[in-house]
């Protein structure tokens, strides 16, 4: 039993970070070059067996990727695409893994069979978080989005595949949220060291210092539980469902709490559009609430028999 990344996993993380650093600036919209680099690096098939056209790693490495995507608040339909790559439909799978069919996330909207879609592409695919099917989107109309880097649309959708594993979805969303929790903790620590007031770095004041300590603890708890849940899911342990739900609950809370406190730690500058702090707040709010989110996970977690 070991919960630290292996040297090979460390290399995967380093490689992901380097691609992200080359092709993405926090707060900037999705870039085509990042998407192409991601496809070229095999991110969309990272956890798909080689026999199915993937790279052959597992949900554990996908979770490590999700954490990194969260850390820099990457915009665009990465999550849906990584998840949809596990569809049994070989044709769809191939185009998804190749990056030519980006997959949005969607959930039911209203009583008329409509969908609310995040990161939609016109005429593209979406993963429905409520019934774990893949749909093709039609009739998109955009709405103002709480996270302006996540395109928000209303749409119709026609089912094209089903049967994706909701637990993989939960653990990867939790991964993004844990990455957010960790990134903003580091942002606060870094600002606490650099920013001076009253002749000293503000991180020497206990109010800031203790908030940073709490943020670090929340981030560590979320990240570690995401690691554990991904391992349990990979190994199909009997308590895998439980650990996935626990990861979902703890990561959602850590991301929202840390992201909101991070604004406070930055003072006025954290309230500006230019600073990235708010990007994490709105992203955390969306990912923690989509398809029932935290509330649904709390119910499911409590219902689990241990």
């Amino acid at each position: 039993m070991d919960l630290l990344p292996t040297p090979e996993q460390e290399e995967i993380i380093e490689s992901i970070r380097s691609v992200l650093a080359d092709h993405h600036t926090i707060g900037e919209p999705a870039s085509d070059t990042l998407w192409q680099a991601a496809a070229a690096q095999g991110w969309f098939g990272l956890g798909v067996p080689e026999a199915s056209g993937g790279v052959g790693y597992s949900v554990v490495e996908e979770a490590l990727l999700a954490i990194e995507l969260g850390r820099v608040a990457v915009p665009g339909p990465f999550l849906g695409t990584i998840l949809a790559a596990h569809t049994a439909d070989a044709t769809i799978r191939e185009s998804v893994i190749g990056g030519t069919s980006p997959v949005a996330l969607a959930e039911a909207e209203g009583d008329e069979g409509g969908l609310r879609v995040f990161d939609a592409t016109d005429g593209g695919l979406a993963l429905r978080l409520d019934d774990h099917s893949l749909v093709r989107l039609t009739g998109l109309s955009d709405e103002p989005s709480l996270d302006p880097l996540i395109r928000l649309s209303l749409s119709s959708g026609e089912a094209v595949a089903s049967g994706l594993d909701p637990r993989r979805t939960s653990v990867l969303i939790a991964g993004v949220l844990a990455g957010i929790a960790a990134a903003v903790a580091e942002q606060s620590v870094s600002y606490g060291k650099d920013r001076e007031q009253f002749g000293v770095p503000i991180g020497s004041f206990q109010a800031i210092k203790h908030r940073c300590a709490d943020m670090a603890v929340r981030a560590e708890a979320a990240t570690t539980q995401v690691h554990y849940a991904a391992l349990a899911l990979r190994d199909a342990t009997t308590d895998a469902d439980f650990h996935v739900e626990a990861a979902a609950v703890i990561a959602a809370r850590a991301a929202i709490d840390n992201a909101e406190i991070n604004i406070q730690n930055h003072g006025g500058i954290g309230f500006t559009l230019e600073h990235s702090a708010h990007r994490y707040v709105t992203r955390a709010r969306v990912l923690a609430a989509v398809a029932g989110g935290l509330r649904r996970h709390q119910v499911d977690l409590l219902a689990a028999n241990l």
């Binding site: 959930e107 909207e109 609310r116 995040f118 709405e143 103002p144 989005s145 709480l146 302006p148 928000l152 001076e196 007031q197 009253f198 002749g199 503000i202 004041f205 109010a207 800031i208 909101e260 604004i263 406070q264 003072g267 006025g268 954290g270 309230f271 500006t272 559009l273 230019e274 600073h275 702090a277 708010h278 707040v281 709105t282 709010r285 969306v286 609430a289 989509v290 029932g292 509330r295 649904r296």
Partner: protein
């Protein structure tokens, strides 16, 4: 100890209610720029003509000479009248609540005569120039420099977080006039004409997608020495008199409005269907308790505000206890909008403006300013702990 309004106060409330019903604009307030300035100034002129400008300003300066209780009654009636704009969200705020009161407290006869009538009559917009990039919580470390040249100051430096700088006529500006003196001792408070050459204004967009804030750059801006309010190098004391006013009634409008926001949110929770598609949101035990707590808290906030007014009435000036109200209000404001996001479910994904009806996400984003602006809650807690409770300042 009593809850009685005097007959005069009751009559005031009645008059306010009637007047507001007849005079409140029904059109939306323009979001920015000259149209917004014109809207705000027009409303200020309407107030002045109706006899509602400077309610608690002394009569000798054109005010109504009324009490803080009447000021509160006015805010309450304003909120009840369901106005299409918030009270404090006006470019006339600084003139009415900072600049004007500071001139009343510390200005020369000439300064008062020049500026106070124009503020009340809606003829001049004021903005604030206190914070700097390097002087936020530690305001006294400001470095915007002013050198004396004959009968003028030559100002060079930068300010930040100046609301409505782009539409302002005057600025209450803190500058360092003696760089050799201890940091609190070398500051002066001056009236800066925003049309003076050398001023460059750059808007700051906020996370709530508003552009009210600006950075202001000063490149050898010449300000007559006669525009110094109070004594040269005594600006810190002058600024603190504004601050004590801030702790008094300046933010009362926000507090009154928050009570209305909580009632709106309770209404939202009663009428909106919850995540299960059956029960109303308010049937959720957790959300119901949090709503009840907020309702209790805005009630207590009002009681604290009235207790503060009672205290000021006895002592003449607002005491440091009022900083407890600011701290309580700032965090409660944020709590209310966080709760709102949990109440509205999937509607939280949809961005709205900061102002407007039936909307929550814009004000949620805006709520982060309430524990930062005008002194972070960390600073407010220091003030409460040190000046009210007498805890030691070292470390």
């Amino acid at each position: 100890m009593n809850l009685d309004f005097t007959p005069e106060e009751e009559a005031f409330r009645e008059r306010a209610r009637t007047w507001l019903a007849e005079n409140l604009p029904s059109e939306d307030r323009p979001a920015m720029g000259q149209p917004m300035r014109e809207f705000d100034l027009a409303w200020q002129r309407t107030l002045f003509e109706g006899g509602w400008a400077g309610i608690n300003w002394p009569v000798e300066f054109g005010g109504q000479g009324l009490s803080d209780i009447q000021q509160m009654i006015w805010y309450e009636e304003f909120a009840k009248a369901d106005p299409p704009f918030s009270l404090n969200n006006s470019c006339t705020f600084v003139g009415n609540n900072h600049g004007g009161p500071t001139l009343i407290a510390c200005g020369s006869d000439d300064q008062k005569a020049t500026h106070l009538p124009r503020i009340l009559r809606g003829e001049a917009v004021w903005c604030q120039g206190f914070s700097e990039p390097g002087a936020g919580s530690d305001l006294a470390s400001l470095s915007c420099r002013a050198e004396i040249d004959g009968d003028e100051l030559i100002v060079t430096g930068q300010k930040i977080w100046t609301s409505y700088a782009d539409v302002a006529d005057y600025q209450e500006l803190l500058v360092r006039t003696d760089p050799q003196a201890p940091k609190h001792k070398g500051i002066s408070w001056v009236i800066c004409d925003m049309r003076t050459p050398g001023i460059d204004i750059r808007p700051i967009e906020t996370m709530a997608h508003t552009t009210d804030f600006a950075e202001v750059f000063y490149d050898e801006v010449r300000i007559p020495l006669s525009n110094v309010v109070g004594q040269l190098n005594d600006g810190w004391r002058v600024a603190m008199s504004t601050l004590s006013f801030e702790r008094g009634t300046a933010f009362m409008a926000d507090q009154v409005e928050l009570a209305k926001v909580v009632e709106n949110l309770i209404h939202e929770a009663r009428t909106r269907t919850g995540a299960d598609g059956k029960r109303p949101v308010i049937a959720d035990d957790e959300l119901a308790r949090r709503l009840a707590n907020c309702r209790a808290e805005v009630a207590a906030l009002r009681a604290m505000t009235i207790a503060g007014i009672s205290r000021t009435r006895r002592s003449g000036i607002p005491g440091p206890e009022a900083s407890m109200i600011r701290l309580f209000h700032g965090e409660l404001h944020q709590r209310v909008y966080r709760l709102a996001l949990d109440v509205i479910g999937a509607d939280a994904f949809r961005l709205t403006g900061v102002d407007g009806d039936g909307v929550w996400t814009g004000p949620y984003l805006q709520s982060f300013a309430y524990t930062i602006g005008g002194g972070t809650t960390d600073i407010q807690r220091n003030i409460v702990a040190e000046r009210v409770l007498g805890l030691p300042r070292v470390k």
